[in-house]
Symmetry: C2
């Protein structure tokens, strides 16, 4: 229910085709892959995925170059407009791309991508094309130029909202302008980094809905 | 190993005794309770507990009033100085207390406190003494005035570092000036809120240490 069969017949190319504008898949030849099929998701509800504090994969695009970084320092800031804050260290190749374009996509990987998450964090987009190197499949976003990652459970298209703390703390405040999420599993098994190579895994959900006052949910 | 036996012989009082300066326990009479015993923890390593995105309990103290709130919107921002960002909605009673004093303690509850976490979030310190109401035990902090919560796995004493975004986003940047954490369990079962009354539980840890480049851990 949560996946579709798709084929990846293309060589690595890294940017949209001139004829269709559609994103080509990367580096995987005639291989059947399963991806979570995503649907429109309300932007003011992205806390559902981001508030639990998962490791995310942030994509960026500058001119004809696409990059992706692993990021764990982020927080939800507001429901409407849907604001999130990301600390993107200025030592990252992505920093300049996002600083110059004011755009990124926050993608939510699950434990299926654990090793890829680490490998993306270990490498720099200054040296390699990470989409190609790690066999990720880009999907064209609706509003911004950086791609969604088809392999991920959800993707949130972001535009810069406020850069007041970028100089001092590398802290970007983005507005989520479009959100996409798979419908199942309802609570994907996400990765939560603790440093020293160790991730906590969240996947078990418990409800205390009946204890909440309605306005506090 | 991770707990000590302690007794709570005191009535609810809510502030340090005049004679000893020590925090009295609250509202629990002659009841044997087990608490995680905490040790000094390096402030620049608080990411271990905060980066995974757990729900936290934030204590504040203004004049002779102590308060505690449930908070899920926070992020690590820097290792040294140890900086964390917290979005504390201005509608909360704690907002004014923290705004006026520039101090708080971030306490890390585990799933043992799930119902208490919800009840703290449901109520306002303007109406009740939450420490008393929910049977929490305060411990005197080392550096700041708000108390640690003895029932929690860890506590991080914070002083305001930068309020540049408080007016616009209720976003406080604190420096963790002193940290306390239990030694066991190494990976406590923490709560990660998703909205709508549902928490994800993180407790299972997986290591990919061997995949990391040493400088990237």
């Amino acid at each position: 229910m949560d996946a579709i069969i798709d084929t990846n017949p293309h060589e690595c190319d890294g940017f949209p085709t001139k004829t269709t504008g559609a994103w080509q898949t990367h580096c995987v030849k005639d291989q059947k892959m399963r991806y979570p099929k995503k649907y429109d998701f309300p932007v003011h509800q992205v806390r559902r995925y981001l508030e639990p504090g998962p490791i995310v994969l942030v994509t960026s695009r500058l001119q004809d170059k696409t990059n992706v970084m692993t990021l764990g320092w982020h927080t939800v800031l507001e429901f409407s407009p849907s604001l999130v804050g990301l600390m993107i260290s200025s030592g990252n190749h992505s920093f300049r791309m996002i600083r110059e374009t004011g755009e990124c996509v926050i993608n939510l990987p699950t434990t299926k991508l654990t090793d890829t998450v680490v490998r993306i964090g270990n490498t720099s987009g200054a040296d390699i094309d990470k989409f190609c190197e790690f066999g990720l499949t880009p999907d064209q976003a609706s509003v911004v130029k950086p791609p969604l990652i088809r392999d991920c459970h959800a993707g949130f298209e972001c535009r810069l909202h406020d850069d007041a703390l970028v100089e001092r703390y590398n802290f970007f405040i983005f507005e989520v302008v479009k959100a996409h999420a798979a419908k199942t599993p309802k609570h994907p098994e996400t990765l939560h980094y603790t440093g020293d190579g160790v991730f906590m895994v969240a996947g078990k959900a418990i409800s205390r809905r009946s204890l909440f006052r309605p306005g506090m949910l």
